[in-house]
């Protein structure tokens, strides 16, 4: 099956009814997609499918056909971080950092949407994600800072 991952056309021979996360992590070696629960409850495995945050642990691989997929590897680089990544580095919200890549994907979608959003909109968008280390307050601050930065550019 052909799919567009992080701007690059990839071919992946993987059963259409098996969960997409294993293709992304193992066949395409995109380990930034984290396996957290397998039920779509915790959000660790969130990727963007045509820009929409979607959990990949409970999504059949076949659903990716012809779609544009973005994983944490495709968001920015150390040299040129996405505003969300830059804000995360400034606010230092990571404790273990395991949940952070999925949270980053939802945050990127929110910031890139260009919508005017409030802090409670940010929380509502991130409620699909669980963080066990208690980094949420700093993450919220980072996302608000990224929104502010984008708005002022």
């Amino acid at each position: 099956m052909e799919l567009m991952v992080n701007g690059v056309k990839r071919v992946c021979d993987f059963p259409a009814n098996a969960f997409a996360i294993y293709a992304l992590r193992n066949d395409l070696d995109l380990k930034g997609v984290r396996m957290g629960c397998g039920d779509g409850h915790c959000g660790s495995c969130t990727v963007l499918i045509d820009g929409v945050p979607t959990t990949s642990c409970n999504l059949p691989f076949g659903a990716l056909e012809g779609k544009k997929i973005t994983t944490p590897e495709g968001v920015g680089t150390i040299e040129k971080p996405h505003p969300v990544q830059a804000a995360v580095l400034a606010e230092q919200p990571g404790q273990c950092g395991f949940c952070l890549s999925g949270i980053m994907m939802s945050s990127v979608a929110l910031v890139d949407s260009g919508k005017r959003v409030t802090e409670s909109d940010v929380c509502a968008a991130l409620d699909k994600h669980l963080c066990r280390c208690g980094s949420q307050p700093r993450i919220i601050k980072a996302v608000m800072a990224a929104l502010e930065k984008v708005k002022s550019v």
Binding site: K31, G36, V75, G94, G97, F98, S120, C123, C133
Partner: protein
């Protein structure tokens, strides 16, 4: 150069076992120093703080420190990374090792250059003198010939006034790597040719397999290996998605016997007070004078349910058993202890001469808040690797197993009785605790026992030890923080450690300190309010420790919402609590504001803490904040559920934790004590946050909830 020797206590723990300079560091390549430590990263960012300490003492840049991989071949054995001891044990050992080698470097430089020691300066490892023109580096001085020399306990260290890295908010060194994707955690590790495993486990540790339709399994999954030893059962497949599908199918083919061995989830108090126990007096102080007459008697019971670790990343381990060598990759908190316990199994199976050589490598996992299944999954994968004939294996636990088969935090019951005088004096404080022990970590079991969950499942099983407690010198377990910190004329604290363990328990953040502090600090509020006294003033009346008083004042003073109630809507409440973690560690005061309505929401938390000399203020704050948020989650939401036969908490849907829309705004202050030893920060907020929430709920509603979690349902059914 100015030098100072800091007071040091626990450093012996790390240095006695690892006494030489070479245990801790080496000048392995030009311009770099390799740091060897046994304390591991698991979300708390300890390696960043240790890098700061080493670079500070050696006068080199952070980027000149390389961290050696942590394994049982080359790393100092520092026991378990737990109990908020890493800065005290490892940090101080690192500092002393660096100070020792630096003194040698300075002496060599002075002797080669004829410079007086007082004229020497070091920057980025380059040594120069203000009185001569000589310049040399650490790497010119052949310092590796000193690696077998002992670390000197009295090596002179830099004074705080000269610190340029210690005390500064150096950003976490590991975060960048994790943020841009790629391999960061043990779950991401790949060994070429690696195969994928999954196991199936009963939701009750006494559960056993009655029957497996193995033929049915092989009919459908002919290319998947099915391994079974007693009730330990797992699959090995070439591909992960196949292993996942195979284990789901296997689940339909296994018949379990689940004995009705679990207590009544709805009445843990009966179980805790009736199970056989070992009673111990934790501490007692006899009154110097008889109490006055006319005292009022108070008695309260406080109860926490079993709670889960619930790390976001399921536990994982890799293993390869090849040519009589077994290598294991694990996110265990104590790789040497893990090695020792796996060797108990290997020795029984193969004898001293036939057993394979075992090496355990540490690889960072997702957030760890105590003894989670990291050790269990490592033993599981070793059992599978025994039959894999050299093939490398990767095993990941399921979310269901993570919640229902890992060690839990024990249910914990505290009764406090005391007599109160009209002037606020407290007499006859008697506190009784019932709990399972707080550790079943590897490395501590009696001969013939083995604490891994699989050890009891084998056809030739080991006995599962009932959880013990760390000694009081390490902070205790169920009795952690059990002795009140207030100036009482007398007290007696009794601990009943259960000798039955129907639900497996072990260390979880703060151990018994969470419930004991919640109980004591709730009781103090009850006493204060019975006299119509301000709860904070009442505490101060019973405290003389200036560091306690300082954090209490700070936590209140910095919360602009503490005094002004004029804009309060209905349901707003404020609560306060204080504790010194382990009674020997960080001083921490917490004030909270809550809103109780259709739910209980903590809207604001103010924290003040004193952790002695602060190594990294942002790191300390982050740990205090995280602990407070996690404590909100435990206190308001968390409870492991079970029937008589099975733990029924199997997914996040069964075990809600605090969500983004529910987290409070946080203010954190540190009272830096540059001339006092550093103590850990990671567990200090757990207990005070819980008690402050309970006190705030009472403030808002006039209802005191003495059984956690504090849910709206519980509030509506409490008188």
């Amino acid at each position: 150069m100015n030098t100072v020797t800091l007071a040091r206590g626990f450093v012996k723990n790390s240095l006695e076992k690892n006494p030489t300079i070479g245990h801790w560091l080496a000048f392995s390549e030009v311009d770099k120093v390799t740091l060897r430590v046994g304390k591991v990263n698991f979300g708390q960012g300890i390696s960043t703080a240790l890098t700061q300490i080493a670079a500070e003492e050696l006068d080199i840049a952070l980027a000149q420190i390389i961290h050696a991989p942590i394994n049982t071949q080359d790393s100092p054995d520092e026991g378990v990374t737990s109990g908020s001891f890493s800065i005290e044990h490892c940090g101080e050992a690192v500092r002393m090792a660096c100070a020792t080698i630096k003194a040698v470097a300075i002496a060599r430089f002075c002797s080669a250059s004829g410079s007086p020691a007082a004229s020497v300066a070091i920057k980025n490892g380059v040594i120069s003198s203000s009185e001569t023109t000589h310049v040399m580096t650490y790497w010119d001085l052949n310092l590796n010939d000193q690696l077998s020399e002992k670390v000197l306990y009295d090596a002179l260290q830099k004074p705080q006034s000269d610190h340029r890295l210690v005390g500064t908010p150096v950003p976490r060194l590991d975060l960048k790597r994790k943020l841009f994707g790629g391999h960061s955690f043990i779950q991401d590790m790949v060994i070429p040719g690696m195969q994928h495993c999954r196991i199936l486990r009963a939701p009750n540790r006494a559960g056993r397999i009655v029957n497996v339709d193995e033929a049915g399994f092989h009919n459908r999954f002919s290319d998947v290996e099915l391994l079974r030893d007693g009730s330990f059962i797992g699959v090995i497949a070439a591909r992960e998605e196949v292993a996942v599908a195979a284990i789901s199918y296997l689940e339909t083919l296994v018949t379990w016997h689940l004995p009705a061995s679990l207590p009544n989830c709805a009445d843990l108090r009966t179980f805790l007070t009736s199970a056989p126990n070992e009673q111990r007096i934790v501490g007692a102080l006899a009154a110097k004078a008889p109490p006055p007459l006319g005292l009022k008697r108070f008695e309260s019971w406080y109860q926490r349910p079993y709670i889960a670790h619930a790390s976001i990343g399921p536990s994982c381990a890799l293993a390869q058993w090849k040519d009589n060598k077994l290598e294991i990759w694990s996110h265990s908190q104590g790789i040497y202890n893990l090695k020792a316990d796996i060797e108990v199994y290997l020795r029984r199976e193969f004898g001293d001469t036939g057993m394979p050589e075992l090496v355990v490598h540490h690889v960072e996992g997702a957030g760890c808040y105590g003894h989670n299944p990291a050790d269990d999954v490592a033993f599981d994968v070793a059992l599978l690797a025994r039959h894999a004939q050299g093939r490398p294996l990767r095993l990941l636990w399921s979310r269901a197993a993570e919640l229902s088969c890992g060690p839990s935090g024990s249910a914990h019951l505290v009764k406090i009785e005391a007599d109160l005088a009209d002037d606020g004096a407290i007499h006859n404080w008697t506190q009784t605790i019932w709990s399972n022990g707080y550790t079943s970590r590897p490395g501590r079991a009696a001969p013939g026992n083995l604490a891994f969950v699989a050890a009891a499942e084998l056809a030739n099983p080991f006995v599962t030890p009932v959880s013990l407690d760390p000694p009081m010198s390490a902070g205790g377990g169920g009795d952690r923080n059990a002795i009140p910190l207030y100036d009482l004329p007398d007290y007696k604290v009794i601990y009943n450690r259960l000798l039955e363990m129907p639900i497996r328990t072990s260390a979880i953040r703060a151990l018994g300190g969470y419930t004991n502090v919640w109980a004591i600090e709730s009781f103090m509020d009850e006493l204060a309010l019975s006299l119509n006294q301000d709860p904070v003033a009442f505490r101060l009346q019973h405290l003389s420790d200036p560091r306690a008083i300082a954090v209490i004042q700070k936590a209140i003073d910095q919360a602009d919402w503490w005094y002004d109630r004029s804009h309060d809507e209905e349901g707003v409440g404020r609560g306060f609590a204080y504790a010194r973690y382990k009674n020997t560690g960080a001083w921490c005061a917490v004030a909270v504001r809550i809103l109780a309505g259709t739910s209980v929401r903590v809207t604001d938390i103010s924290i003040a803490a004193d952790v002695g000399l602060v190594i990294n203020p942002d790191g300390v704050k982050s740990q205090l904040e995280g602990g407070a948020v996690q404590s909100c989650s435990w206190t308001l939401k968390e409870e492991l559920k079970f029937s008589n036969e099975a733990i029924t908490t199997r997914s996040w849907a069964d075990y809600p934790i605090l969500m983004f829309s529910e987290v409070p705004a946080l203010t954190v202050s540190l009272i830096n004590q540059p001339n006092e030893p550093s103590v850990g920060a990671g567990e200090a907020t757990q207990g005070p946050t819980a008690a402050a929430i309970g006190n705030a709920v009472y403030d808002a509603l006039g209802i005191r909830i003495k059984q956690l979690p504090i849910t709206v349902e519980r509030i509506s059914t409490t008188d």
